[in-house]
Amino acid sequence: MRFTARGRLLVAASGLLAAMAVGLPSQAQRTPEPVLEFATATCGGSGELEVEFLLTDEIGAPAHPEYRYIVAGTDVQTGPESSPWREGDLAGTLQPGAEVPPPGEGSLSGMTVVPGDTGHVVLQAAVDRVSADGSRLDRIVVQGEADLRECAPVVPEQAEIPSRVWGPFGGKRTIPTQQEPGGGQTTHPAVVRIPGGWNGYEYWMAHTPYPGSNSAWEDPNIAASNDGVNWVVPPGLTNPIDDQPGLPGPYNSDTDLEMGPGNTMYVFWRVVIPDAAQERIKYSTSTDGVNWSAPAEALRSSMTERRPLSPALMYENGRWVMWAIEIARSPNRMVYFEGGATPAKANWSPMQTVSLGAMQNGKEPWHLDVTKDGDSYIGLLNDTAFASTGRDGDLLFLYGTTPTSFESQRFSAVPRLKPAMHDHLYRATVYADTEYGVPGYRVWYSARMALNPDVWNVQQTFLHGAAVHGSP
């Protein structure tokens, strides 16, 4: 592994020249400039490298309240030196317009995804030094680079194990939230892919920010993407779709996103009202992804009678159906409702228990996603340690030919542990897809590092083993 911070070398070299020309005192008085440093590169199971750089003030740089550094732009060069530069388009906080934190107060983080055989990557950032009155004093360009070892994808044929659907832990995705527009802690991802795009984007995601497990932020948000990797808030949309104050007052959770009739997108979520001992499944609709209807109610429950959480809905054969995890009585169980042409609350049938077979020892269901794969139903069931609220969660692949009977794999489709990233798995979203021409399942899952408070993130991976069930 070789790494050079060319920007720092240039700074040092220019400082040395200046010192030689006019004496050492001028070196001591030079203007400290930010440095761009390579941080890490993570090899994902799909064979891509997530390469992260940090833009920060030099170590030990003095405070400079008389001016600030503002990012003007970034460019990336991958491969040999003769390779063309392209716009940075980074994920993270290293964005045009972002201010470099003052000395000692952190850094801007930017991540680019490059092919696994890239070998060498250079990131260049143009940074404006701006005075307190807002005028630009000068512009500097800093650069960081790294040599990368090859990252090989998990070859589907090698990954295929009879009667097992599984995949590697995912690559972290930066999801803009109402709390952190540059990308924040979030959970409950629900992704819809519309081939050919819908209102400018092929992938749409509903999610609930949950920084530090603070339910005040746990409101339905919408993001969109054209590659499933880089996510933005569609221009014109202001998140959240619905805002609740959070505990001890009412709070939102458990988003699901579906396409319904009339080229209309539906976002569903759960609302808990502790003071009234009530829970509600609400929904909002949009035909452009930007303007969303006022929230309507799909289901209302008394917490003492029924507590269906993590709703997973589908518009099928002219009516809505819904799966959920019922937690009012221990052990938790997967349930199913049939509805009408709209998700309005008057339309739902009585709750039916879904057969899941045996769970993992000491585990019970917690969160859920279900979708259609040809004539079959597939899903990912997030389990939890018995009588807990999302501890030691795994993701179990579900398969069924009827909506009320599934086979559940008794092991996690994704490793629970990703070092420094997650040790508990949570709600995921899945659909059948192909990777390198081999069928499997595209997955975004949420997970947390159990700290005090927790840290949440969303990861993307691909599950192999589709041949087990004959997916497309």
Binding site: A41, G106, S107, T389, G390
Partner: protein
């Protein structure tokens, strides 16, 4: 395979998530060191009084540290989905209080307490929540008792939940005097402290909680009664 950048990022890495953890460590490390220094420098061992030849005046040499006894009528707890609140019943025990020089805020450690009666949660034991203190900022010039990283309630049962859930946790808690005084004495014998607002309660095990709270502590006060 990915490169091996560890030697490069250990000192400066501050991405969103890891930055948060680093900042937690950065902020809590001085607190831990300060607390450890206070306890190790000022605190006598718990068995000090019974040690042969121990000088009696050593207790007086620790003006900013005391092990004290506490008593509480118990915590009133609402479990989500249950209509009636529940109580732990009266609890007594001991706790170390350390007051850093110049502060009025007292940091609690080594909490040991148990219920005097069997109430809604059966037998209840209180302890500090396992884990390292977290980034928890407060006004140190105001008299208070800080439980960081939180309090652990070991219970026989949680009404409405499976009996296998036997550990409940708070996040860091700050308790304020119910009757503030102008010049607080240390230790604050005969003073009563209470949580100033609702505190969320999480189920868990070994300090690791579930993903969402299962209830709220609506009332919780304790009185520092006498030396421990």
């Amino acid at each position: 395979m990915a490169p091996e950048p560890a030697e490069r990022h250990t000192g400066r890495r501050r991405s969103l998530l890891r930055g948060r953890r680093l900042s937690v460590v950065a902020v809590t490390a001085p607190i831990v060191i300060l607390l450890a220094a206070t306890l190790t420098a000022a605190a006598p061992p718990s068995t000090w009084d019974s040690m042969p030849g121990a000088p009696e005046q050593t207790v007086g040499e620790s003006p900013n540290y005391r092990r004290v006894s506490l008593s509480t009528p118990g915590a009133t707890i609402e479990i989500f989905g249950q209509l009636e609140p529940f109580t732990t019943g009266g609890i007594t025990g001991e706790v170390d209080l350390a007051r850093p020089e110049g502060n009025q805020a007292m940091v609690a450690a080594n909490l040991v307490a148990s219920s005097d009666e069997l109430a809604d949660f059966g037998q209840v034991y209180l302890a500090m929540r396992p884990g390292t203190p977290v980034d928890y900022q407060y006004d140190t010039s105001i008299q208070s008792i800080i439980f960081n990283p939180g309090i652990e309630f070991k219970v026989d049962m949680v009404p409405g939940l499976s009996s296998s859930t036997d550990f409940l946790y708070t996040q860091p808690i700050r308790m304020l005097p119910t009757e503030p005084v102008a010049n607080p004495l240390f230790p604050p014998y005969e003073q009563t402290f209470a949580i100033p607002s609702l505190a969320l309660l999480w189920e868990g095990e070994a300090g690791v909680t579930g993903s969402e709270p299962i209830g709220i502590i609506t009332e919780f006060e304790l009185t520092i009664t006498h030396p421990g």
